[in-house]
Amino acid sequence: MDPVAAKLLGAGLAAIGVGLAALGVGNVFAAFLSGALRNPSAADGQQGRLFIGFAAAELLGLLAFVIAMVLVYAV
């Protein structure tokens, strides 16, 4: 396979990882909402944990994006 085509294909495949991270981020907020609506008085105290979960899920998607950028521009 042509190396340029291969690396562009690889960058495109890395976009799948970004999409999966989107699922993860959605899952974090969905779980928080379903818990928070059952016990609204406890929800405010858990906002820090909500954003820690969000940050962890988002970081993995951003890593996939970094791989795509490295493939397109640096390799």
Partner: protein
């Protein structure tokens, strides 16, 4: 960034979304020992905005005006975050976390400004790993210094969760050590990539608008119109990301400080 895109488009019809991240000296050459770059200029502008915001609001009036209420809102927010995550002993770290939060927040938002002055178009200084890396090292270095100063070599017990079976201790130590050493990288990488990704996305959409308008009125309406609407929406999302990333950086810094101060 729109104007930046049109500059590039006028040159050859091909949009280079990475061009906006070029660090270039404002005068002189890059060969100077300390060239004053556009990145440095926008960091100075961030500092000036931050100083103006704080000096305008630190009046200590009994009945706060709007400005003082805004400043007290931000300081109270950071104060509350430290109090819930670190406890009463974290009071002395409020200035550090507040500085990190406000600097990141302001430089993120200033980098999104939709103005195009030739030679001084908005530059996001946090979209470079060198800048976010230094910020993360500042936070991580504070954690190390505070941890070793308070607990001495007992600080290493952070790497062995209480109740670990004897057999598992070497394995757990290695895993916890790796997860500890990765912290500054994840802290810096998250902020840098989130900023870079958003700006590339905006630039690619701007390229769609410019190239489709250049191809004729029909294409401009068919492709450029929806792209423009999408770009407005993405810009609003980017504002949200600016605030969330600054918040996450401050939150994780205070969590790491909690490890150093309280050892679990």
């Amino acid at each position: 960034m729109l104007t930046k895109g049109s500059d590039v488009a006028a040159e050859g019809g091909k949009i280079d979304p990475m061009h906006q991240f070029t660090v270039e000296p404002l005068f002189g050459t890059m060969n100077w020992h300390f060239p004053f770059t556009n990145s440095a200029l926008w960091m100075v502008i961030t500092l000036v905005c931050l100083w103006g915001f704080m000096l305008g609001g630190m009046k200590r009036e009994l009945v706060p005006g709007r400005w003082q209420a805004a400043v007290e809102g931000v300081t109270g927010f950071i104060n509350g975050m430290i109090a819930t995550n670190v406890g009463p002993e974290g009071k002395r770290f409020v200035p550090l976390v507040f500085t990190l939060f406000m600097f990141i927040l302001l430089s993120n938002i200033l980098g999104l400004l939709p103005i195009g002055i030739t030679g001084a178009h908005p530059f996001t200084s946090t979209s470079h790993f060198t800048v976010t890396g230094v910020l993360a090292l500042l936070a991580f270095g504070t954690v190390l210094v505070v941890g070793f100063a308070r607990h001495g070599f007992h600080f290493f017990s952070l790497f062995i969760p209480s109740g670990t079976p004897k057999l598992m201790i070497p394995l757990m130590f290695v895993i916890e050590l790796i997860s500890f050493m990765v912290r500054p990288f994840s802290l810096a990488l998250r902020l840098f990539v989130a900023m870079t990704a958003g700006h590339i996305l905006l630039k690619v959409l701007a390229g769609f608008i410019i190239n489709s308008s250049g191809a004729g009125l029909g294409w401009g309406i068919l492709v450029g119109g929806p792209s423009f609407i999408l770009m407005v929406g993405i810009s609003a999302l980017e504002l949200l990301v600016c605030v969330i990333q600054a918040y996450v950086f401050a939150l994780l810094t205070s969590l790491y400080l909690n490890d150093a101060v309280n050892l679990h």
